[in-house]
Symmetry: C2
Subunit: 159 residues, 2 copies
DNA sequence: CAAGATTGAGGTTTCAATCTTT
DNA sequence: AAAGATTGAAACCTCAATCTTG
């Protein structure tokens, strides 16, 4: 009686590298397009759009500085200056916390709410054309599910 | 006789946004891990690793400045300085072209070849653990195929 | 005049140190 | 002591202008 057929490394190195390389390249291509589109339609850089979007989709439209910084992948110090510029532009404002005087909230202003609402509408149109129309429904859902796996395993815990 | 059932916008806005958001988050999570791992194992920043990897996987181990710049998503000016630093570190060297005196090639040095060869081995191990082991073979291949679609449609043509 | 590469100026981000509050 | 936020210094990248070569 023979033992079980052991098939270690069924996927060879080349294939692992290649497939993840495709992820990098595809994502880079789309990021560049997205950056340009957001810049064109809203006039703001992509990081602004990302931060505003998070605020917009959060009940109360406000999040603590340090938390939003983590969510949008900024360091604490870098985010301070980002918020400085967005405040300068009138899109957000700082709000002191009542319960903990260490924390500062970032909140959408009326102008910021309008800016992101309008921008989001155009952005969705962009995503439909560049992603959904290329992949189709089924592949898009699969893609989302797959990337969710990676996020849940490796992503930071946003408590 | 009724006409065809038209089902426009079967995928609603929310789903499009959510799925692409998962791509962004998953990719960000893995990029951060990868950056840290490359930094730990090779001591170099991620952009260096990417550039060296391209050189390593190219016959002759040399590529024209402007072409490599495009491949790794750098501007011409930014890439000049990146190569300056990598040359300083002894990993690459500039080589003048015989046929066209405008072009300068970037070439791997002996030290660079060893550095990327060693780094790549560790990097593959990292990808197996963080990507392949999480997704499994089938999902990884699907993911690669899906992202290839996006790259081919939206990516730049590397002639 | 177009293409490849470099340079200097300017803007953005990280890092380490600091201050305040818990 | 630890966490949130800010600051100044340094690193990195982009952009526009420049130089050289085709």
């Amino acid at each position: 009686v023979r033992g079980p057929i052991r098939r270690l490394r069924v996927v060879n190195d080349e294939e692992v590298i290649t497939n993840w390389g495709l992820v990098i390249e595809g994502f880079a291509a789309l990021s560049e397009l997205m950056e340009a589109d957001v810049q064109r339609t809203t006039g703001m850089p992509l990081p602004w759009f990302g931060a505003l979007l998070r605020l917009y989709r959060t009940p109360g439209h406000r999040i603590a500085m340090s938390k939003l910084a983590r969510v949008v992948n900024f360091t604490s110090g870098g985010f301070t200056k980002l918020v400085d510029r967005m405040t300068e532009a009138g899109l957000v404002e700082r709000v002191a916390s009542d319960s903990d005087r260490r924390v500062t909230y970032v909140a959408l202003t009326e102008a910021g709410r309008h800016a992101i609402a309008d921008g989001l509408e155009l952005h969705i149109e962009f995503l439909r054309q560049t992603v959904l129309d290329v992949l189709g429904e089924e592949r898009l859902r699969e893609l989302g599910a797959t990337m969710r796996l990676l996020r849940d395993v490796h992503g930071p815990d946003f408590d």
